[in-house]
Structure formats: structure tokens, C-alpha cells
């Protein structure tokens, strides 16, 4: 590899002392090939230096910092919004849960209210604690629907949840279906995390 570039660079950038400069000029006179190579290099470096220190237009230069400040403003607004995400998620869950419950039981809200009135608080508590959600699912969905739900859960939720709260807790929640006891096993932060993961995965 014949690399004379360093010599050319030093010569053109005034980095050679007097003797080195004279020696190099003598080499150029002696060798036509080196002379041609140096001329090509000089042409290229002329183009480089002509395109090196070009000022950007005033309008564009001024727009850079304006755009940056706008982005900074948007970023700080976005930071505030996540604080409301859990509240929004909770509202969505309540709404979705209400409609799901209505669909699964094929009852109207008025009918549910009248049924609820017939039970005391302790009786209702006992029913919800012992209620097996999988029975409700099996009653109202066919095998195909259940396998679809299962696959969505596996693809979108389970891996992230296991990473976040550990396999023991997720097994408890999703395999045993004992949803009423979830709060005993996971903290409020974990609940928030689950909501945010569900929202991120666009399940909600």
C-alpha cells in the first residue's frame, strides 16, 4: 500500500520543517507519478476546503434553537402525562370490567343491581372470593376463543409480567385464577406496573 497521504497532508498544512519541505519538493520534481498523485490530492483538498467552512443561513441557524426549545417543552409535558396514566388505566379497567361482566353473565345492569340487593356484604364477599373465573370463561367462550385469549396472553403479557413481578406471582394470578387474592401477593407498584404493561401492549 503506497500511502503518500501523510506527506501530502503535512506539506499542505505547513507541518513540515524547512529541510523536510525541500526534500519533498525535490521528490516531486524527480517522480512524475508522485507529482500526478500530489496534484490529484491537491484538487480533492481544494474541494474539501471550499466546502468546509460554509455558514448556514441566518434563518435556519436561528430555527435550530427554537425547534430545540419546542421539543424540550413537549418532552416536559409528556413527563407530566404518565402520572395520569394509572388513573386513566384504572378507569378503563373499571369500564371494561363492567361491560365484560355484563356480557359474560348476559344480564342487564338493572338486573345485576337487583340481584346484588338480595345479598349481604359478607355473602357477596364470599361469592367473589370463591368465584372461579375460568368457569365463567368456559361457559361463554368456545375452545377456539379461549385458545385465542391464551395465545394473546402468552405473546403479550406473560413474559413481561414474569420479568417484572416474578413467575410465582404470575402463576398464582393466571394459573390458579384466584384473582381475589392478588393484592396479598403483589404491591401497589406491581399493580401499577401491570396496568402500564397492559396499556403499552395495547391490551387495554
Amino acid at each position: 500500500m503506497n500511502n503518500n497521504e501523510e506527506k501530502f497532508f503535512s506539506y499542505l498544512h505547513g507541518q513540515m520543517n524547512y529541510e523536510e519541505k525541500k526534500e519533498f519538493e525535490l521528490e516531486l520534481i524527480k517522480s512524475a507519478d508522485l507529482n500526478n498523485e500530489f496534484n490529484d490530492y491537491k484538487k480533492l483538498m481544494n474541494i474539501v476546503s471550499e466546502t468546509k467552512n460554509i455558514n448556514l443561513s441566518k434563518d435556519y441557524s436561528e430555527s435550530i434553537i427554537t425547534e430545540f426549545r419546542n421539543r424540550l417543552e413537549i418532552k416536559s409535558t409528556k413527563k407530566i402525562i404518565p402520572n395520569f396514566r394509572y388513573a386513566i388505566a384504572s378507569v378503563i379497567i373499571i369500564v371494561v370490567g363492567y361491560f365484560s361482566f355484563s356480557v359474560l353473565n348476559k344480564e342487564t345492569p338493572d338486573e345485576i343491581n337487583s340481584i346484588l340487593k338480595e345479598y349481604s356484604y359478607d355473602e357477596l364477599n364470599s361469592i367473589t372470593k370463591n368465584y372461579d373465573f375460568s368457569i365463567g370463561l368456559e361457559k361463554n367462550f368456545n375452545d377456539n376463543d379461549i385458545s385465542k385469549i391464551d395465545s394473546i396472553y402468552k405473546q403479550n403479557v406473560s413474559v413481561n409480567l414474569i420479568e417484572s413481578i416474578g413467575s410465582k406471582a404470575t402463576d398464582y394470578i393466571f394459573v390458579n385464577n384466584n384473582v381475589a387474592d392478588v393484592n396479598e401477593y403483589i404491591s401497589d407498584n406491581d399493580v401499577d406496573l401491570i396496568y402500564s404493561q397492559l396499556i403499552d401492549k395495547q391490551i387495554l
Binding site: 500500500m1 500511502n3 497521504e5 501523510e6 497532508f9 498544512h13 490529484d40 490530492y41 484538487k43 480533492l44 483538498m45 474541494i47 474539501v48 471550499e50 466546502t51 468546509k52 460554509i54 455558514n55 448556514l56 443561513s57 434563518d59 435556519y60 441557524s61 435550530i64 434553537i65 425547534e67 430545540f68 421539543r71 424540550l72 418532552k75
Partner: protein
């Protein structure tokens, strides 16, 4: 030394809550950031986006800067890394057809006032874009930013021999390309 003191004062003022000090730093370095990014990407819009990204990094990380190197070297390293990452992401997006290739944006006319120079920039940009990324990077650092091989080696963490080899191939290719212009 005076430059270092000015930068030091501006950084100190910014850390102490003076937002205008950051604006002054941005104005001081934005052209350098833009041109390095533009030469790396060959596109005004990509360079514009990289400028914004680099300013955001500076805004968030300036507090951690300890003046062990010059502020310019630090900004230069961030700009170079961001440019490479941007190009890699762009390549992936284009492979996955996430970017709308049909709607290629035309550079606005008011970026560079001098038309003759704008044409030369176009010519050199095309030549630079024909180089592999590693060769392009070394060529820009060496010739446009006038960095020594030792400085490039410190920034890139690569041996001087490897950098010289990359530069040799880049130089050879660009000379051949510009001969045909």
C-alpha cells in the same frame, strides 16, 4: 485557553440554572454538529434531526461533563456516535420499509445561501455517500475536521494502522469518483 474558559463559564452558568447559557453554547456549536452529521448522512433532514438529538443529549448530560477533554471533543464524539446510530436505524427502517421511500424530501433552498458552494457540497456529499461508513467516517474526521490519526484513534478506540488503511481506501475511491465529475 480563552475558548476553554468561555465554555467552562457557560457550562457553569447553565448548571446553575441560566437557560440562556445553554442557548449560547448551542449557537456556538450547532453549525459544527450540523456539518459533521450532514457529511455523515448526506442529507439535510437527517442532519437536522441529529442536531436536535445532540442538543438534547447535551442539555441532559452537561451536568456530568468534567472538562477532562475539551467541550468540542466531547460534543464531536457525541455527534459522531449519534450519526452512526442514526444511519444504522435508518438502514433497518428502510429494510423493513418503515420509511416512506417514495416521498423523499427535497432540501429547502434557504439552508445554504451560496449556490455555487451548494453545488460543490452536493458533489462531495455524493462521493462521501459512496464510501463504506468506516471509510467515510475517517475521511471526514481527517480532512474536514483536520484531526490527527492519534485524535481519531482516541475518539474511535481503533488502532492508527487500521484508520490509515481505511483512509487510504477512502481517498483512492473519492479521487476516482471526482475524476469522472
Amino acid at each position: 485557553m480563552a475558548e476553554l474558559n468561555i465554555d467552562f463559564e457557560l457550562v457553569k452558568n447553565f448548571i446553575n440554572g441560566d437557560e440562556s447559557a445553554f442557548n449560547r453554547l448551542a449557537v456556538k456549536y450547532q453549525e459544527k454538529i450540523y456539518w459533521h452529521a450532514r457529511r455523515m448522512t448526506g442529507d439535510h433532514y437527517d442532519a437536522d434531526e441529529i442536531v436536535q438529538e445532540v442538543l438534547m443529549v447535551l442539555y441532559n448530560k452537561l451536568k456530568t461533563f468534567e472538562f477532562k477533554s475539551s467541550l468540542y471533543t466531547w460534543i464531536y464524539t457525541i455527534t459522531n456516535t449519534r450519526s452512526i446510530n442514526y444511519l444504522k436505524k435508518k438502514k433497518v427502517r428502510s429494510f423493513l420499509s418503515l420509511d416512506d421511500i417514495k416521498n423523499e424530501k427535497v432540501e429547502p433552498k434557504n439552508i445554504i445561501d451560496d449556490l455555487e458552494k451548494a453545488q460543490k457540497i452536493d458533489m462531495i456529499e455524493k462521493a462521501l455517500q459512496s464510501l463504506p461508513l468506516k471509510q467515510r467516517e475517517v475521511f471526514i474526521m481527517r480532512n474536514f475536521d483536520e484531526l490527527s490519526y492519534e485524535e481519531i484513534s482516541r475518539i474511535k478506540g481503533k488502532s492508527i494502522g487500521a484508520l490509515k488503511a481505511n483512509h487510504f481506501h477512502a481517498l483512492h475511491k473519492i479521487k476516482e469518483l471526482l475524476k469522472n465529475e
